[in-house]
Amino acid sequence: MVKGALALCALVSVLTTVGIVVALLQPSIEFFREINFIDYITGTDWAPLFEPARFGVLPLIVGTLSVTFWACFVCIPFGLGSAIYLSEYARPRVRRLLKPALEVLAGIPTVVYGFFALTFFTPLLQDVGTGVGIFNALSAGIVMGVMLIPTVASISEDAMSAVPRDLRAGGYALGASRLQVSTRVVVPAAISGIVASFVLAVSRAIGETMIVLIAAGTLPQLTLDPRESVETMTAFIAATGIGDVPTGSVEYKTIFAVGLTLFCFTLVMNMVAIRLVRRYREAYE
């Protein structure tokens, strides 16, 4: 009986997933009855609130991927570098100090990062002469990348710590340097965990809302130039959700269609990441 009550608690999480799927699918199905799916997925003009309305989602996808690219440009090398440092180079006392310090980066609310990107980083980039606009993908991407450094660092470091000491000892005993042992013994041994951290970071970047909403703008442009303003899937959903869109209208349903597109991206990435993490955990436990 107690077990039943507790199982009901557990049921909430199941219902959440069901709810998400239904909430996304139902309006999307209605949406795609009105709007041709091929036009949606290949169209290069996104203007759902204009006359005549256009529903090509590519600008949103490209916008998302553009920002994600710059985020990865920052978080992958620096995250991995931090992980290698913490795992192979740092003394225990230093490690005990630095690890939580990096975690603080992960704990800062995203709206704060958005503020920072818009009011400090963009002007900085402008002063340096890169020619970025007030809203641009570069600023949002780089700041998001810094926010994601702890994600890459902590999972990669976990994976590297799980590599048995014997492997390292074998490398050192052969006369290899710390650089060689780290990069040729430890990293390859921990590779599935490290890749999992990259995949997770990408997934988080794709799903991030506030930084891009504030710093990248809400102008859907199909461009790879990071100095331009772009609109990501998440920014569009947020901006439309804030506004007054009549329930049941096509414009209202775009929230869900884009949401579904977003969800598919992140779902695939998350499943890959989880499978990779399980693989590296199994290898050593």
């Binding site: 959440t16 290698i84 440092y85 995203t110 810094v146 650089l179 909403l213 998350n270």
Partner: protein, 279 residues
């Protein structure tokens, strides 16, 4: 390039990696403090927002955030702890539905926060007809933090040594007696710490609240079934204003928000250190 030089450069590059994040963090904090500190005053904390930056405050937003936290405490913690107890003490791991449950929770932890907002929009605001009210916001945040809470609670429960359970069973206690009188009390410090950390994540969330209707201009104090706003939303609204002073106000709001977060996390760490059990 000799091996030593290469090794040295590599080491330096690694240090730069670590430094970049920390330097940026420091820059961010300094920048926010510089812009916002002059504006952190009684006006900020006690006045409603206004179109005049000199008279604008964040009172409804601060109250909204506090009320959201209180609701989360009441809703999310029992659900999360209950699920954790079920998974750790009662569920048969071999069963497919229990394994599915675990996978499900793992997936939910990685869903973008805005999708929770969409969930709330579809079911609570429009579906159930709750409207854009505080309760809807609290419910959605509950679902958002549930996976984190479950994981933290499970770890706290798992940390209780099995010898305690065996001793209690051997005395003739039923399973629920063992769980409620031995396991849970011993796990409470860990659960409390985890709950506070989960809550601190929740109060920084903006995106789901945007969709569930934290309106960006609310001048009345939030009530359960009325219009509401929260601190991150208020900050966001101020950022959106073109005037320079509103940016400073936003920075001031950020200082309050970060202060709140710092306090919560410090409390969690203190709790953990004070009640850390050495088995």
């Amino acid at each position: 390039m000799s091996a030593r030089v290469r090794g040295g450069l590599f080491h330096a590059a690694l240090l730069v990696s670590v430094a970049i994040g920390l330097v940026l963090l420091a820059t961010l904090l300094v920048d926010v403090l510089r812009k916002g500190l002059p504006f952190v005053d009684g006006v900020l904390l006690t006045s409603p927002p206004s179109s005049d930056p000199d008279r604008a405050g964040a009172r409804p937003a601060i109250l909204g955030t506090i009320e959201l936290m209180a609701l989360l405490l009441v809703m999310a913690v029992p659900l999360g702890v209950g699920t954790a107890i079920y998974l750790e003490e009662y569920a048969d791991r071999e069963r497919w539905y229990n394994r599915l449950l675990e996978v499900n929770i793992q997936n939910l932890a990685a869903v973008p926060s805005i999708v929770y907002g969409i969930l709330g929009l579809a079911f609570l605001v429009r579906g159930l007809g709750l409207g854009r009210v505080l309760l809807a916001g609290a419910m959605i945040l509950t679902l958002l933090v549930l996976p984190i809470l479950i994981v933290a609670s499970r770890e706290a429960i798992r940390a209780v040594p099995d010898s305690i359970r065996q001793g209690a069973y051997a005395l003739g206690a039923t399973q629920w007696q063992v769980v409620s009188r031995q396991v849970l009390p011993a796990a409470i410090p860990g659960i409390a710490t985890g709950s506070i950390l989960a809550l601190s994540r929740a109060i920084g969330e903006t995106a789901p609240l945007l969709l569930v209707g934290a309106l960006t201009y609310v001048s009345v104090n939030p009530t359960l079934f009325g219009d509401f706003t929260a601190l991150p939303i208020q900050i966001f609204q101020w950022i959106g204003r073109p005037q320079e002073n509103f940016h400073s106000l936003a920075a001031a709001g950020i200082i309050v928000l970060l202060g709140l977060l710092l306090t919560m996390n410090a409390f969690a760490i203190w709790l953990r250190n004070r009640y850390e059990k050495n088995w």
